[in-house]
């Protein structure tokens, strides 16, 4: 699956990035994987309820793309957004507590898994309507352009969003106005259970960039370095005022669409093939093989990450439920702007 171009792109990133940066990529992907594994466990134990969509397998996309951003850049995401929120820097405690529906969660237990939001870190929300975040990303871009600020917006969505009108409306307008928005399509081949071939007439999704007159590239979404490099190129263009780009990151979700989906529409063989290309293992091989990082350093990172997530689970479990007396709070903001 990996294209020749991806290999070259990844090689370029490998040469550009220092060891500490590469280890940070490794750390973030492990953090998300561990977070999602523990989330599944907590869901099975009834600690987390509702609709919950896990990101395991797709870590390279969020981590690679967001690593190419500055802290002040914006991220907009979907309902499968735990990974993006964590990659943007929200403490795992706050995310896990939100999944538990606790007052200490990032949305005070009002949003749950699908509606994470952390404006202080410029994570501008997960949107639980397919394609719903794209118009908002264009609006962020519009505001940035109006105020002549240097930031860019990175907007993630799945292959399922492409047939939505909002996708086409957004790409058209972002291109027409040359807004600094990077559209990142996480093509994991299934919109819930519907294979992309059965949903979209053009399966080379990056080619939707052509009618909207923006660069479109397909990258190996299982290779964090390829995603990083492609996003770097798109952000450079956006910051130069040359407008948006579309990146199709080809990836795979290891679990079903949501916790209630056993993914019986795909074969075990298919799942195995993708897991052999696991993004964490791939980076690990590179670090050990090509950069001579001792295994012990990587194991130390894994231990550190596990401790952070274990702490997040404990924190979420011990946190208080939201008070019923606060139910009506924040439906409206008082004039004078949002509370700090």
């Amino acid at each position: 699956m990996a294209l020749e171009r991806d290999k070259l792109t990844a090689e370029r990133a490998l040469l550009t990035l220092g060891e500490s940066e590469l280890l940070e990529l490794y750390r973030r992907m492990n953090l998300i994987r561990r977070f999602e594994d523990r989330t599944a466990e907590m869901y099975a134990r009834g600690k987390i309820t509702g609709f919950c969509h896990l990101y395991a397998g797709e870590e390279a996309v969020a981590v690679g793309a967001i690593f190419a951003l500055y802290d002040k850049d914006y991220v907009v995401s979907t309902y499968r957004e735990h990974g993006h929120c964590l990659a943007k820097g929200t403490p795992p405690r706050k995310v896990m507590a939100e999944l538990f529906g606790k007052e200490t969660g990032i949305s005070h237990g009002r949003g749950g898994s699908m509606h994470l939001f952390d404006p202080n870190l410029r994570f501008m929300g997960g949107y639980a309507i397919v394609g719903g975040g794209l118009p908002l990303a264009v609006g962020l871009g519009l505001s940035i352009a109006y105020k002549e600020e240097p930031e860019v917006v990175c907007c993630f969505f799945g292959d399922g969003a492409l047939p939505q009108g909002a996708f086409h409306e957004s790409l058209n307008m972002a291109s027409l106005w040359k807004l600094p928005v990077i559209f990142i399509c996480e093509n994991n081949f299934y919109g819930m259970g519907t294979l992309v071939q059965n949903a979209i007439c053009q399966q080379e999704l990056y080619r939707f960039a052509e009618p909207y007159k923006m660069p479109g590239v397909r990258v190996d979404g299982m290779d964090v370095l390829a995603v990083y490099q492609a996003t770097m190129e798109a952000t450079a263009r956006a910051r130069e005022g040359e407008g948006p780009s579309l990146i199709e990151a080809v990836t795979y979700r290891y679990r079903g669409h949501s916790m209630s989906d056993p993914a019986e529409y795909r074969s075990k063989r298919e799942e195995r093939i993708w897991q052999e290309r696991d993004p964490i293992k791939t980076l690990r091989r590179r670090l050990v093989g090509e950069r001579r990082v001792p295994e012990s350093r990587l194991e130390a990172i894994e231990r550190e990450v596990n401790a952070i997530i274990d702490d997040a689970v404990r924190y979420a479990d011990e946190s208080p439920e939201p008070a019923l007396s606060d139910l009506m709070k924040n439906v409206y903001v008082e004039n004078g702007g949002p509370q700090s």
Partner: protein, 336 residues
């Protein structure tokens, strides 16, 4: 700068001109205010509501968009969350259906989803209403799609003064506001507007006419027909009818609704939106629930018939409330 273009003198203004003035003045007052929609810039809008804004404020702040309502609203939310104050236009309120998701899911829940850490100070202007032979897709009064959505505010001015004052308040409000402006009123009503800056508070109804025998509760396009009907029955039947103009539909001014119900003991709700599921049902329930002991008769509703707004003028007229129908409804209720 404020008023430089809109004329700061006390002068007669149509309902349409009042909206235009409010946009001019608020854009001059706050550079975060901008206008976006289909043909709002070069053309000055389908109804000329935004005329002159492009010349005054430039294309960065008066933005023509493609016909993409979902995007227009959604981009408004994105800009609003970063502190801009977009006034986005749906060319006709009927087209708001294409931006519905972004209003009810994205905008309305923004503050709540985010624990009050973010706000969405956006106005969606929606020219609504029948009586202009627009037929099915250009005549609707879709306010009830939104009046049950927490997080939104919904206003429906009936006078030029309110059109201006409510729009200014809506723009300055930190929550998403849906602003229904009645197309039939654009050029059919005018009044002297006072000098300088004034606002009309959101959430406050206004007694337009005091009375003893019966209360009409109404808003928007049917206010004027209700006032006409009240004058007719005063002259011909000696009935004293109070008329309450809601002005804001979300949040409802419950105190004003209950006060007029308690004062007269008989309530007729009039609106141009359809009967079933219209806000009249909610008002009737509020009155029945909290002013039951004061009532001397049933709470009655007069609204558009439960069908589409047809094109053929006699059919359209038959579907909609009008002064004669209101007169008849007043007489029936007064005789109860």
């Amino acid at each position: 700068m404020v008023g430089a273009l809109s004329g700061n003198l006390a002068m007669e203004a149509t309902y349409l001109k009042a909206i235009n003035q409010a946009l001019h003045e608020e854009m001059a007052r706050d550079e975060n205010v901008f206008v976006m929609g289909e043909d709002v810039a070069e053309l000055g809008g389908a109804f000329k509501v935004t005329e002159g804004l492009l010349t005054a404020f430039g294309e960065e702040r008066v933005i023509d968009t493609p016909i993409s309502e979902s995007l227009i609203v959604g981009a408004g939310v994105g800009a609003a969350v970063l502190g801009m104050r977009p006034v986005v236009e749906m060319q006709f309120a009927d087209f708001i259906s294409c931006g519905f998701d972004q209003i009810v899911n994205t905008a309305a829940t923004l503050s709540y989803r985010h624990g009050g850490k973010a706000s969405c100070p956006m106005v969606v202007r929606a020219p609504s209403g029948a009586g202009v032979h627009g037929a099915l897709f250009h005549s609707q009064n879709p306010e009830a799609w939104f009046t049950r959505v927490p997080g939104l505010k919904v206003v429906a001015p009936a006078t030029a003064y309110d059109a201006k004052g409510l729009l200014k308040s809506a723009i300055r409000d930190d929550n998403p506001v849906i602003y229904f402006e009645h197309k039939r009123l654009y050029r059919s009503i005018k009044e002297d507007l006072p000098d300088g800056d004034f606002t009309v508070p959101l959430g406050k109804a206004e007694v337009r006419r005091e009375g003893r025998d019966l209360s009409i509760i109404t808003y928007g396009g049917t206010l004027h027909q209700s006032l006409d009907a009240a004058r007719i029955v005063e002259k011909e039947d000696g009935l004293s009818v109070e008329v309450l103009d809601l002005r804001t539909l979300l949040p409802l001014d419950r105190e004003a609704i209950l006060a007029t119900a308690r004062r007269t003991g008989k309530v007729l709700v009039v609106h141009e939106d359809r009967l079933t599921g219209g806000i009249g049902g909610e008002i009737a329930a509020i009155v029945a629930d909290e002013a039951f002991d004061y009532l001397d008769g049933p709470v009655r509703r007069l609204a558009a018939l439960d069908t589409h707004v047809p094109f053929a003028p006699p059919l359209e007229e038959f579907v909609l409330p009008n002064t004669n129908k209101i007169v008849e409804a007043i007489r029936n209720l007064a005789a109860y």
